[in-house]
Symmetry: D2
Subunit: 346 residues, 4 copies
């Protein structure tokens, strides 16, 4: 049994880690660190945890963590992990960062899109981008993981097989993202205020979402040329779930059946990606509470476009679930350990 | 005061007409015709109408209608209006069809996309496509109106100014549609079942939505060349509201400010279209219960794309509201008569 | 045309007043006063008002208001109106307070339940409790109106006819309140945070809701004996709508039909109260966006209880709508002026 | 490992059993029986099960079941299990009925409230009412379990400790039930139609809900006198979750702290009941997806009433979860086996 610390104890990332790790055979949550509420029990914030986590949350103490835990999950706001992770550099502690701090290899890009100073270059060099299905071999060797964003996870898993197989051209890729509100976290704001978010579709951060460079960076690496995607995001009146609908120009004549076949082959050893049959498109509820990414495909012959829909639970495959999947890979455990639950439906 | 009959009395289109016409100075609902429930009071189906409509619904009798009413709104399922409207051909009754029966000029297209026999050619020739802002002059002269679909209304109002001004190229236009559930009508089905629709995003009719040829037909007319758009639709867990997010390649260098300026000029005499300022994108709740179409614009310099979001209430500007707007134009009344309400918020 | 000022311009009460007054023949909104955002346009906060209200919000200036407006609606947080209304005492300006400041006749009660100093006694003496259907005659003569709370409006209209007619005994009255989230106002808080409010039922303020003494005060006056009701409130995942389900011991043998009959007679001259037929119970959507209060009744013979359900739109009959209804009564206009809209459905 | 059959394979009860049993150490689903869709894969109805259940659903064959399975869960509509269970009387197969067929001991009552012929008397005699916490000893010895209804589970667990300890009097008990829509099952109807259920509170079956006699029967047994409760139900716009708010007259002077203390003692050995601290009331989301019943308590001194709120997930503790809890008890396994998951939040 390895010991886990979660830093950022009062956010949604943290409680989803707690929920999922409860079923994990090799990992146990030893410490929950909260900057703002140490000393309090987490159940005073999250009564659903009553009976599961009764110890008070703790203050961050680096030495203490190095001594007592094996893995740290950073479920912290942007700008925190980049300053903390270097402090564990000389220890054996595995660090998995759920924030965006280590996702962009270019310090300039981070500073431009996040508006903060970037992580030290040596940490960026060390960090592996934990899109588990795509970078599985690198993850297995990693000590620091930069866990992907929710939109990039959905978009990249949906686009990469077609891009790698030259089914689509890298230009004109459009990604229309739709996300549940929990992606915005736990701090109440005008855009997460029930009365205005309910019964509403809200486009937001058009042209300036920090997931744009993250998606483009990985697609460019895969295609080995610079790719700029057009990416938009919409807030949908629901708590969990995220779908990207993607449009890309076909590079050659191909039928929907053939594309589906290619995707099924591509992901054959990846239990968390499920490719839908022809004419079936995933809904977000198909993956609710689970680590699955369900992908639907359609060749639009009228317009020579491949239409891809890719659905995940933004808090699981888009955050805590993929983080645990990466921990499994890093430690040589079954990839599905702790994540083998059936989605909750309806 | 002119007399109105509504055919299809128990659908959402009908009750939205009743709601809006209640505030109309020149129109009064004289007859509500229901094929399945004539003889019953509409309040047994829709208790919210108690005190407003107490007469029983009636059976369809053509002669009777010709004698007693001046305008008929057809809020009927696909395939009904095309058989009925010819029967009013020799009368002076104005016919406004909210179904899709008269929207496609090509009988072949109708038969292909709707799977039913098309309307007679002479009726198709006579019918004016009632996208009020664009075909205002033709609507004023019309006796038969084919009221546009909800997605086409949103998409076309959003795209046409850019297309007409050659701001965008006609290729690669992508329209990602997101709609509330009321667009599916009143008949309970698996896809409108609360437990499965709630907390869910459901892509549907990918590549085969009957609004595709309707959009392409109008865009092609405007551009005077054949245009095929890529169009998808997603069911969103809310009752009312629809937004299309659109992506089109810029044909020339232009700033967001200039595009906004062009749109504002284009719609300056059209009170129901509101162009948002730079950086602001409409939400569906901004137009809830009203006849507005709110449009947001963004030039994405990274990808040379124009991003357009266009929000309407699917039951008002996307159906009953635009039908009344057309009735106003046909009869020389104020375009806003009966439609001058503030959207309901929150 | 009389001129209106609304104080508290950025709350939901204010924008609902603006929406409803837009259709009013005798009232026009002349000034919108905002303490926190004067100088700004209200459309920067509420884009749905674009084209309707373009003047900037103003700072409060008493003299100015006395000169320029005839009626002031106070849509202010608790504790504000009680200090402002005295300043208009010597003017002819009619004051309608939508907050709870003037609702409790006892200064001690106010201080106990609201935790603030009460209004001056002379103002409390002057203020008429504007439950329009019940205190119609007093409202007609009033210059200061204390507009009822949302729960009290629903509960009192549902209970009073039975209480007055001695159909029920005054003991053991239970009122189970269920409200939409907009009742909590516009300030984002943990209890209005979408991710936690959605898909959730939240009991709140059990035993300490400030509407308890307001309900008891009026029932006690009607019954001419002290009544203590048991009252609870639950937050429901929706934006608008409120229902009270009420339980009271029958004082005598009576059938559901007879009770319904009594209620219909009681409210026969009150157009905003609609009594449902036997076996039919109102839903909140039946009154959405309207000033109606729909009431359903059932005699439970097994337990000798009268069960009453009373549904309103919390922002209309529970706030802005009833305030306008009171303004109509105070000025001798049609009671329904500006309020004669059909509920929005679905 | 014991083998399970689920009869009624396409309902929500069945798929929730499948979801929960997936984590069970001693039970595996061997057969899914569907009357209407045998031969089909369940994933064609429920795509979220892709990869978990791929065998086709089967036709009901009694002999075959007796041979191959150890436990049958009947997730069937009313009127089905009562005819099937007698056929397993001579076998060793354990039968757990999630429908209401065996819940009422009196055949007359069943026929009156369900409108169907009752089960044979010998089956009714044999069936144990599986309210696990209350009838634990009887459940351990049972071969046939009548699994309680969702409302009765919530109401009874909330009321029984106070009733048994004579904290409350048995008269005037009021139970105000509020439930998510999934309780209505999978068949689309007008009352589960998204557009009308969303943004709405719908009181239903007032005075005639079949859970009334079920609640009264158990309370009467506990109190050893005839009890008639007043019980109402309201449909709430959410998918999962149920809460009963209950009101009962205090039989003696007691503080909230003392009542909480009594409840904590009462349920000390029952891991699925969590009693909230003073001033805290459970929300349905606190138990989402889990087998917990969370109970909040408040002594209302003003009215001498005990107010109890009791929250469950209607599909888990209110159906499939409690059924598995009963199977655990019947077979001598850990009561929490397969049910030890943290509620999903947010």
């Amino acid at each position: 049994m390895k010991n886990v610390a979660i830093i950022g104890g009062t956010g949604y990332g943290a409680i989803e880690l707690i929920r999922l790790l409860h079923a994990h055979k090799h990992l146990q949550v030893k410490k929950i660190i909260s900057h703002s509420q140490f000393g309090e029990r987490i159940t005073s914030v999250y009564p659903h945890l009553t009976g599961f986590v009764e110890e008070p949350m703790e203050k961050l103490e680096i030495d203490n963590l190095i001594e007592e835990v094996d893995i740290i999950f950073f479920a912290t706001p942007a700008g925190v992990a980049k300053d903390l992770i270097p402090k564990f550099a000389d220890s054996t502690v595995q660090c998995i960062d759920l924030s965006g701090d280590l996702r962009l290899r270019s310090k300039e890009q981070y500073e431009q899109w996040y508006g903060k100073e970037a992580a030290p270059q040596e940490i960026l060099n060390q960090a592996v981008y934990g899109l588990s299905e795509i970078y599985q071999e690198q993850v297995k060797e990693a000590k620091i993981i930069s866990n992907p964003g929710c939109f990039p996870t959905s978009a990249l898993l949906g686009l990469i097989p077609a891009l790698e197989h030259n089914v689509i051209t890298p230009n004109h890729i459009v990604i229309d993202g739709k996300t549940a509100v929990s992606g915005a976290g736990r701090t109440p704001t005008a855009t997460t205020h029930f009365s205005e978010t309910n019964e509403n579709i809200t486009p937001y951060k058009i042209g300036k979402h920090q997931h744009i460079p993250e998606i483009d960076q990985t697609l460019s690496e895969i295609a080995q040329e610079t790719i700029h995607t057009t990416f938009t995001t919409h807030l949908i009146p629901m708590t969990r779930g995220l779908i990207c609908t993607m449009y890309a120009e076909l590079a050659r004549d191909i039928s929907t059946e053939e594309v589906i076949d290619q995707y099924q082959t591509y992901y054959v050893n990846h239990p968390f990606v499920r490719i839908k049959e022809i004419g079936i498109f995933p809904t977000t509820k198909d993956v609710y509470g689970s680590n699955f990414c369900d992908i639907g495909l359609h060749v639009d012959e009228r317009t020579n476009q491949l239409i891809i829909t890719s659905a995940i639970d933004n808090l699981v495959k888009g955050a805590a679930g993929q983080a645990i999947q990466n921990a499994n890979l890093m430690n040589g455990w079954e990839e599905t350990e702790g994540l083998d639950a059936i989605p909750i439906f309806p």
